[in-house]
Amino acid sequence: MNAPVKIETTLKDWETDQEVRWCPGCGDYAILKAVQRTLPQLGADPSNTCFISGIGCSSRFPYYMETYGFHTIHGRAPAVATGVKLANPDLDIWLVTGDGDGLSIGGNHLMHVLRRNVNMQIMLFNNEIYGLTKGQASPTSREGTKSPSTPLGSYDHPARPAAFALGSGARFVGRGFDVSKNLPDVLKAAHAHQGAAFIEIFQNCIVYNKDVFDDFAAPKGAEDRQLWLENGKPMLFAKDTKGLTLNREKLCLEVVDVAAGEDGSPDWEAADVIVHDVTNRTVAHMLVEMPFGPFPMALGVLYDDPRPTFESAVVEERARASAGKDANLAKLLGKGQTWTVSGTAQDPV
């Protein structure tokens, strides 16, 4: 696979002439802008970039990106994208899905694209509701969600996208939310990761599930409820007055208070706050399982530990299997035990 050539572009180069059809105020607008802002910074080439989506509000995304785009069918974008990547491993693929598309009808495909580790960025817009079909409870809706299909409140337990991804074998799990200023950084880290990079993006559906993420996403008090993870940095939040530590007896995470040291900076070592290591899969499992409320919402890059990609294995195998072989169709057709008929006599060959 060739190293991508860096291209100079601006945000405008990534906008299409298509009228954006999301509801005014939808969180998708902010995500679209974040992506369009990020791609020029990556030096990405619109001709070599392909957005592939399933069905739902999020899956309209490709129409608004001045790149190659394929709006497929409900839940199947990971399978289509796998075929695209195997046919042309040089393409830079972004997959756009939602909580219904990716975790309900397409859960199987999402699991397999992650475990196979096909190199692409997978953005799952989680708004905890079906938007385009007018507001039914989704697999990530919280228990008790009242919707047209659950008028008395839902009673199934919600799926947790980041935990699903990690459990499926993802080697990159990131998290952000629509209006977060840090979202481009998460997207850049996902793009730098060679392999399937899963990004859960909390997205505000202002019509059917308005402000459902305000507990942690609302600007007011955000520091107390958001833990932005950085590789090699202690897991601190609430203006560095709190952190996460590992209870070594119970093998679980705990929130601890962090006091200021003599120089005024937080003495996190004294509080035994752990340092984020993006390659630590065990801690990543703890972070994705961490309940919001008693704990802050873990955001940023939760896990990033690449391993060889699926398409590189396919390309290598094809090369290995072809090495030294004569791809001659005429010979192939006449393979095996044959005999020649000449006139009327039969001569086994």
Binding site: A79, H109, T338, G343
Partner: protein, 646 residues
């Protein structure tokens, strides 16, 4: 019946039908396969019919665990695996019970007395040993202890009884090779290659094979065991091999991709009887083939669509239930107008149905089985060798018209083998795929613009690979605007695009229909499609030999139908459509041409017998002198299903 005269084989018959039947674990498919090979090498034409249970290792000795392999071979053209066997090899009581009714009166039964134990007789629901009472009186019976003779033959190799008995099938094969004067050397070579790392096993099997052969020579003097000579068939000069339908489809797809000058991407998911195509192609990576075993049928087709979008020839393959799952994705390929080949190896349905048995009941599914007005070309194959040509045609149509195409084969064609004259790839006209490299339209301001849905003279849109500089565009399953491909729900636009998709498929160039046997007009046309070719052809040949005015028309292009087919059918007084379903093609013909097509249907999971078709033809000619077609008794017990019998 007991009074019926025996009709034993003549010394030099034109054709012979042999059926090997035994327990699933007895290796009957292997025996049949190797007998087929030596028969092909002896220069006979042949057709085979493997018939095996869906269970991988059914309990030993049971009726439902019987596996059979039938071969029809001769010194004249052979198109079917034969109606009734002349020789039945029964390796145990269950095999005898489930197959004896099919044997011709006077036919030869070869049975292994060593397997006719009380226990095995009970399992086959025999109250008495049929080899010892007179229940087989109308047949010649040759019963001896094959088990014991095999153990004796392999004794020098120090195998235990259980292992030794595994060579029983080779002993039997040796006897069959002697009976029909076939060479042993190819089987020796094959055994040596197969057991390369276990020379003891190879030697034991060779010893068993030779012992069976020697037994034939010795036993000749005593009783019904005779050696027969079947002269080689006269064939076109050239190089030949045996081929199964699954192999031929795989090779045809490789050839099709080469003629299109494209890499091939094959997405598949394991399903009987389609998996063999995935297995064959997985070993052909040096031909630019990528095989992908997907997580399910839907992912298999979706990945193939993705690969086609990115510039490969996407192919997927399955059987009825899997094809049903792929339906929505076929609609996506139709809407996005991408080339795709979908192979359907039909089996008995509905639902899981009869996984290992054959049927032609997915024709409606192929032609009509999608939501919306979703037209798709459908091509069928009529024999294992024909599957090669049909697969190339499917690739051609897909690439030239930017459309998914369904290739219909079936369980019978997939597993059956026939001699195949190896074609020269140079004799096929290439149809290289073209990719759009630059903008193809003009906008209102006179500037260059990209029109992803601008159609060519065939109605096909351009193929635009992602990665091509400056041709960025979006496609998807939502209705597209004419030319620009933008989302467009406008009433006039949907009408125009629906019409364009229909016209494109109806406009696919397919060759005019020819009459494969008989005349272009007359009293009766027997119209077939798919794997019914063999029995129809033989029945029509026999009827014509008696002077009956009947012709055989066999249709490869199911959708669109050949342009001349309607007029051709109307030039016959009667049209008879035999199919292994409840009359699906008959309905299509009636709908398209308003002809009074009469159905002849069969859904037993078994191919038609020639006699069944002769009888049906005969009914159109009652009172015509010399016609005996209507008098041929139909043997309903032909290849009965073990389940039904048990």
């Amino acid at each position: 019946m007991a009074t019926q005269a025996k009709a034993p084989l003549t010394e030099n018959p034109e054709a012979v039908v042999v059926r090997f039947a035994g327990d699933s674990g007895d290796g009957m498919q292997l025996t049949g396969g190797q007998f087929t090979l030596s028969t092909a090498l002896a220069g006979n034409d042949l057709a085979t019919f493997p018939d095996f249970p869906a269970e991988i290792r059914a309990p030993q000795g049971t009726l439902f665990g019987v596996s059979a392999f039938q071969i029809n071979f001769g010194s004249r053209e052979i198109n079917t695996a034969g109606d009734a066997p002349d020789v039945l090899v029964a390796m145990n009581p269950a095999a005898l019970k489930t197959n004896i009714a099919a044997l011709k009166p006077g036919g030869l039964v070869i049975a292994d007395t060593g397997a006719f134990t009380k226990r095995n007789l009970d399992k086959a629901h025999y109250s008495a040993n049929p080899l010892e009472d007179d229940s087989l009186a109308k047949y010649d019976v040759l019963a001896f202890d094959i088990s014991e003779k095999t153990i004796e033959a392999v004794k020098p190799f120090g195998l235990g009884n259980k292992d030794a008995l595994r060579s029983k099938n080779m002993w039997t094969l040796g006897l069959a090779l002697w009976m029909f004067d076939r060479p042993r050397e190819p089987i020796h070579d094959w055994l040596k290659a197969k057991f390369k790392s276990k020379p003891d096993i190879a030697d034991a099997n060779i010893a068993a094979l030779d012992a069976g052969h020697a037994y034939g020579e010795t036993a000749e003097l005593a009783g019904p065991m005779k050696q027969y000579t079947i002269e080689p068939v006269e064939s076109d000069p050239g190089l030949y091999r045996t081929i199964t339908g699954a192999e031929a489809v795989s090779l045809g797809l490789v050839a099709g991709a080469q003629l299109a000058e494209l890499p091939m991407f094959f997405g598949g998911y394991p399903i009987t009887p389609a998996s063999a195509i995935l297995h064959h192609l997985a070993r052909l990576k040096e031909f630019g083939v990528t095989t992908f075993q997907a997580e399910d049928e839907i992912a298999a087709i979706c990945a193939a669509i993705g690969a086609s979008y990115a510039g490969s020839l996407g192919v997927t393959s399955s059987s009825g239930p899997g094809i049903a799952l792929k339906g929505e994705a076929m609609g996506l390929a139709i809407m996005t107008e991408l080339p795709l080949v979908i192979v359907n190896s039909q089996r008995g349905g509905p639902s899981t149905g009869l996984p290992t048995k054959t049927e032609q009941s997915d024709l409606y599914q192929a032609v009509y089985g999608r939501n919306g007005d979703a037209p798709m070309p459908v091509v069928s194959c009529s024999s294992p060798g024909d599957a090669f040509e049909a697969a190339i045609e499917a690739c051609r149509i897909a690439v030239e018209y930017m459309t998914p195409v369904m290739l219909l084969t079936d369980g019978y064609i997939a597993n059956a083998a026939e001699p195949w004259k190896v074609p020269d790839p140079a004799n096929y006209t290439p149809f290289p795929a073209k990719f759009l490299e630059q903008k193809n339209g003009t906008d209102s301001a006179g500037g260059e613009t990209l029109l992803p849905y601008k159609r060519d003279e065939k109605g096909a849109r351009p193929w635009i690979k992602p990665g091509t500089p400056d041709l960025m565009h979006r496609i998807g399953g939502i209705e597209k605007a004419v030319d620009t491909g933008h989302i467009d729900y406008a009433p006039d636009n949907h009408q125009a695009m629906t019409d364009a998709r229909r016209d494109k498929v109806l406009g696919v160039a397919v060759p005019d229909q020819e009459v494969c046997l008989g005349d272009t007009s007359g009293k009766l046309a027997v119209v077939g499609w798919g794997s019914t070719f063999g029995p129809i052809h033989q029945a029509v040949r026999r009827a014509r030999a008696k002077g009956v005015d009947v012709s055989h028309i066999h249709v490869r292009y199911i959708w669109p139908l050949p342009g001349n087919l309607g007029d051709l059918l109307k030039s016959f007084d009667h049209v008879l459509v035999p199919e292994m379903n409840t009359g699906q093609f008959k309905t299509v013909l009636r709908d398209q041409f308003l002809v009074d097509a009469q159905p002849l249907t069969k859904t037993s999971g078994q191919p038609f017998q020639i006699a069944e078709l002769e009888e049906a033809i005969g009914k159109f000619f009652d009172g015509i002198e010399g016609n005996e077609g209507g008098e041929v008794p139909v043997n309903d017990q032909q290849l009965p299903s073990p389940e039904a019998d048990g």
